[in-house]
């Protein structure tokens, strides 16, 4: 029993992961309701913190883009943000009293590029030098981790490793690396200092760790087999064709209509309308299961998709904790209650 003697109405949801990559996750969430699914989705998009460039001091900028244009572009570069959950928001950092530039609440970046050639020079995220090796542009991080993998795999074979490294260098020359910030021509220069801070998507979308987060209700499809068997093969085919997505097919052996992909159904009700038009109402029943959801999570790379879900659960817990009643509110009400008893002559 909890405090206050109320009975618990807690649910115990179930999870099944279908597909997991660093930046992509597909999973099933069952035995809870849409309010919980939607709260998780909303928190993933707007309230899981990341780190993004928030303050830019430009020393030299002779490029074709103006200072604020470049600052805005810098802000939108996703940075690896595994540190973010443990970091402080600069507005409540007491170590630097509101300055927002200390190690607890910020990461400093430097960029210094000058074009001294005839060919156009791309300034990219790879030119951003971080003071914290754990907070770097996500594309730079992805590149360095993949080359580290190559190196470890071919420790015994030096020749192959050297060739790989050469290829890597060549690739860098041919394909421009990183996210392009601005292009410079001969004589142009960009020199700046940038401060990255912890923030949330609610404040500015640059802090959102989510590229997309969606969920759908799992459909439950029931075919009236008896009625279906009364259809000719051509009728079956034209009925199947009426669905804009490929949900049904005909089993080549038994000639029966089977559900091949229930989740391809978009709740368009075309097959239901078609059945009615064919004079077979009730041929098919499709219901959205109210307690089963299929989530798709795509991350910007700031945090892993699986970590994004875990962080969202944590943030939602913190939000709930913040809305608990304070002791003085409860006390004030207790007094009110006693006063009520007095007034009623108790």
């Amino acid at each position: 029993m909890e405090v206050g003697g109320g009975a618990s109405n807690q649910r115990f949801p179930k999870i099944k992961i279908r597909e997991m990559k660093d930046e992509y996750l597909k999973f099933e969430l069952r035995e809870t309701d849409a309010s919980m699914a939607n709260a998780l989705r909303r928190v993933m998009i707007a309230e899981v913190p990341t780190i993004a460039i928030d303050l830019v001091e430009i020393e030299v900028n002779s490029s074709v883009l103006n200072d604020e244009f470049i600052s805005h572009r810098l802000g939108l570069i996703p940075l690896t943000s595994d540190r973010a959950m443990g970091m402080r928001f600069s507005r409540d950092c007491d170590a630097c009293d509101g300055d927002g530039q200390c190690e607890h609440c910020s990461v400093e970046f430097h960029l210094d590029v000058r074009c001294d050639q005839d060919q156009t020079l791309d300034v990219t995220s790879a030119d951003l030098i971080s003071t914290d090796p754990s907070v770097i542009p996500v594309d730079v991080a992805a590149k360095s981790s993949s080359s580290a993998y190559d190196a470890s795999e071919n420790k015994a074979c030096l020749g192959l490793r050297q060739i790989l490294m050469l290829l890597c260098l060549l690739e860098r020359k041919i394909y421009r690396r990183g996210i392009i910030i601005v292009k410079l021509r001969r004589g142009q220069e960009l020199r700046l200092r940038a401060i990255a801070r912890k923030g949330i998507g609610k404040d500015h979308a640059k802090w959102s760790p989510a590229a997309t987060v969606t969920f759908m209700y799992e459909p439950e499809i029931r075919i009236n087999e008896e009625m279906m068997e009364s259809l000719s093969i051509d009728d079956k085919r034209s009925w199947i064709e009426s669905s804009p997505t490929k949900v049904f097919d005909i089993d080549p052996n038994t000639q029966q209509v089977v559900v091949v992909d229930p989740e391809a159904y978009t709740y368009d009700e075309e097959v239901i309308k078609k059945a009615e038009a064919m004079g077979k109402p009730g041929l098919i029943e499709i219901e959205a299961k109210e307690d089963s959801f299929i989530f798709t999570v795509e991350s910007t790379g700031a945090v892993k998709a699986s970590k994004l879900v875990v962080n969202a659960i944590e943030v939602l817990k913190q939000k709930l904790d913040a809305v608990r009643l304070s002791d003085d509110t409860v006390e004030a009400d207790d007094q009110f209650g006693e006063l009520g008893v007095h007034m009623r002559g108790g």
Binding site: E2, V3, G4, G5, G6, A7, S8, N9, Q10, R11, F12, P13, K14, I15, K16, I17, M20, F27, T32, D33, S35, M36, N38, A39, R42, V43, E47, R91, I200, K202, D203, H204, S306, V309, V310, I313, E314, L316, K317, K319, L320, D321, A322, V323, R324, L325, S326, T329, V330, A332, D333, F336
Partner: protein
Amino acid sequence: MNAPDRYERFVVPEGTKKVSYERDTKIINAASFTIEREDHTVGNILRMQLHRDPNVLFAGYKLPHPLQYKIIVRIHTASQSSPMQAYNQAINDLDNELNHLKTVFEEEVLKHSRDY
């Protein structure tokens, strides 16, 4: 020029209470909870969890205006319970549900990364 600061949307101003409670003056066991700087995310899960409590006769929330960053949760309970008790119970249940969710999710991630 006179646009309010973006953080106004989620930082509770100094001197303001996060949650304030007000009893209904006419109906016994009814009350409103005003929650500052919260929106549908918290409002809707609280409401739905309150609906699972058999002692709750009515539970609803509203976001009075998109530029007023607060929600109002209204609860009416049967005499065995009280709005405050139902409110606390709903938060505890949701908190436990999330603890459970975190555990099963992390187990599943571990299982999946082993299989892979």
